[in-house]
């Protein structure tokens, strides 16, 4: 059924490319499989059409998506992002997450927060949270707790550190389990790293110089091959240690 997909895995696809599904005949409906379309793929009747340019990826058994490079962030439900608090109004905070609209964040959506015990959040602070509501017709809503009411790493950022922007593709590369880039980076200097799926990265190392180096390395690692990157990292390690 996924034959047309299977040939193209790992190859570049462009918007407008169409995959046809060879649907099984109605008699043996029991054998029909489910297909899960990830970002960049859209169902179009009996076909699946591509709506982003990038590389077609596959995760067995039936998940397909397109790995694309872009800078603009579109909120997606459940994604963890770094936001900047821009306003405090009544019982909600307005948070800039880099999307087309500001997200709202209730003051009760923090661990241990009650009506009496308000979290200490100032305008301009950074928060790490996940989307509870994110669709194109509604204002996105952030929360800093998981479904059990635990912070689970989310909440307001502490003092210090540097926030900078990278492309969404690099962020996803950083967040891949056993990411090479992350492993190489953490071998350089001990550091705290928070990666938001909206392309914002917060880094804090022992000194400002180390923080600066890490930030610049991450930003320049975007368009490097693994070999070039390792060479650069080795150079930094030799020079700095």
């Amino acid at each position: 059924m996924f034959a047309s997909f299977k040939d193209k895995i790992g190859e570049a696809v462009l918007p407008g490319d169409v995959f046809t599904l060879e649907l099984p005949s109605p008699e043996n409906k029991a054998k029909a499989e489910k297909l899960i379309c990830g970002p960049g793929l859209r169902r179009d009747g009996d076909n699946v059409s591509v709506c982003k340019c990038g590389v077609l990826r596959h995760k067995p058994p039936n998940v397909f998506w397109i790995d694309s490079q872009q800078k603009r962030y579109v909120p997606v439900k459940g994604e963890a992002v770094i936001g900047i608090v821009t306003a405090k109004s009544g019982d909600i905070f307005k948070v800039d997450v880099g999307g087309s609209e500001l997200a709202s964040l209730s003051y009760l959506a923090f661990e241990g927060a009650t009506k009496r015990n308000r979290p200490n959040v100032q305008v301009g602070d950074l928060v790490f949270g996940q989307f509870l509501i994110a669709n194109k017709d509604m204002e996105p809503e952030l929360v800093c707790i998981d479904s059990c009411g635990r912070a689970n790493g989310m909440g307001v950022f502490g003092e210090g550190g540097l926030l900078f922007r990278v492309s969404l593709g690099l962020v996803r590369r950083l967040l891949v389990p056993q990411s090479e880039l992350l492993a190489e980076l953490s071998a350089l200097f001990p550091c705290e790293l928070v990666v938001g799926l909206n392309g914002r990265v917060w880094v804090k190392a022992a000194s400002t110089q180390h923080t600066l180096i890490l930030a610049n390395l991450l930003q320049s690692a975007e368009n490097m091959t693994a070999k070039q990157r390792q060479q650069l990292f080795r150079k930094v390690a030799d020079g700095a240690l």
Partner: protein
């Protein structure tokens, strides 16, 4: 749409790095970002990249009636436009404070400083003069727009050529470029502005602030100067108190920077002139790097199927020749008409040096003191850690 706000974390970090005499992009206190000047096919078109800041300018001319107060002088009009493409903070067709400031400063920079001969633009006194329009568009905003705008405006003015006019009695004819070569404006001097950002009540200063540095700065001092060290305008904003010593120091720095930039502009103009004269390749499209996947291509050889047997041994012998020697090379040409500094130079912001320096600091300071005796202020020397405290 609103611009991304600056978080407290970024602000604190920036101020801390400035205190430690470092910058986010690895520059030294007095360093400019890379400047790249590109010209277009038409005369009077110029594009300037100052790091990520990008501005474009087109100079045009038209016939107009002069002002009654100055009947024998041409006119100069400058307009700066901030398109929403440059930054989400800019709105189309909206007069913002920044836009008014840029327009006013550019006008002061060019018109009030009398940087070119206005009287040569007169055709018939009191009736017809040339009106020169300078249209500057900001394509990308990453701080220090004023410097980029002043560079692009004066460069496109120097690049511009107007049609020649001949006068017989009361009649005059405007010749097209085919009939007679268009003539350049007579530029007296090139006013170039240099911006200084001040932090912590003026205790720290930075040259050529970028967008994030502009967001945290407390005061801004803009000095426009030509290479003869004549100040064309000076503007201090942000309500910061500056000492006389600070201003004179800034003007010293500005004079060095202006000299460097003027040299760069002249180099770029010269290169473009030469490329045009030699019918070489010029213009903007040529200056873009060609990203080719294939550097070599092979010509298709017609396949001959006759007497395969005989030639087989020959082919085997020939096969030792590596295919690369047969490939036809198409090297990437470096374009004319592009003057730029710093492209391809690796940033020397000292991943290694800075940390090493910490240990050797004491030795170095003694060396520096002896070096300084030469009394020549080399401001752009990024090797030295200049002392920036001004008061």
């Amino acid at each position: 749409m609103k611009d991304t706000p600056l978080s407290n974390c970024e602000r604190q970090f920036l101020l801390k790095t400035i205190e430690e005499r470092k910058r986010l992009d690895g520059r030294e206190t007095y360093d400019y970002r890379n400047i790249k000047i590109t010209f277009g096919v038409d005369y009077g078109f110029c594009m300037v990249d100052l790091g990520k800041t990008k501005v474009m300018s087109q100079v045009s001319c038209e016939l107009a009636t002069p002002k009654e107060t100055r009947p024998s002088e041409g006119m100069l009009f400058t307009t700066v436009e901030l398109s929403p493409m440059a930054s989400p903070a800019f709105e189309a067709n909206k007069q913002s404070e920044l836009l008014v400031k840029l327009n006013r400063q550019l006008e002061r920079c060019l018109r009030t400083s009398k940087c070119f001969d206005m009287e040569s633009l007169c055709i018939v006194s009191g009736e017809k003069v040339w009106r020169i329009n300078v249209d500057v568009h900001v394509l990308n905003h990453d701080g220090n727009l004023m410097d980029a705008v002043s560079i692009v405006a004066i460069t496109s003015l120097s690049h511009f050529r107007r049609p020649e006019v001949s006068i017989q009695g009361q009649e005059f004819t405007v010749h097209t470029a085919e009939e007679r070569d268009p003539i350049p404006l007579s530029i007296y001097h090139m006013p170039i502005s240099v911006s200084f950002a001040f932090f912590q009540q003026g205790s720290y200063l930075l040259v050529d602030p970028n967008d994030s540095e502009e967001k945290v700065m407390e005061g801004l001092l803009v000095i426009a100067m030509n290479k003869h060290r004549e100040i064309c305008f000076i503007q201090s904003s942000g309500g910061i108190m500056l000492l006389k010593k600070q201003v004179t120091r800034c003007s010293d720095i500005a004079s060095v920077k202006v000299l460097e930039i003027t040299e760069l502009i002249q180099k770029a103009l010269e290169k473009d002139r030469k490329a045009r004269k030699d019918d070489d390749k010029f213009s903007f499209a040529e200056s873009l790097p060609k990203e080719q996947i294939t550097a070599q291509k092979l010509k298709e050889a017609p396949l001959e199927k006759m007497d395969i047997q005989e030639t087989a041994s020959e082919i085997i012998n020939k096969a030792n020749i590596s295919p690369s020697t047969q490939g036809e090379h198409s090297p990437v040409l470096h374009a004319g008409g592009v003057g730029q500094v710093g492209e391809g130079i690796t940033s020397s912001w000292g991943l290694e040096e800075d940390i090493e320096e910490e240990g050797e600091m004491e030795e170095k300071t003694t060396v520096k003191k002896t070096k300084r005796k030469g009394d020549v202020i080399v401001i752009s020397d990024s090797e030295e850690e200049d002392i920036v405290v001004l008061n």
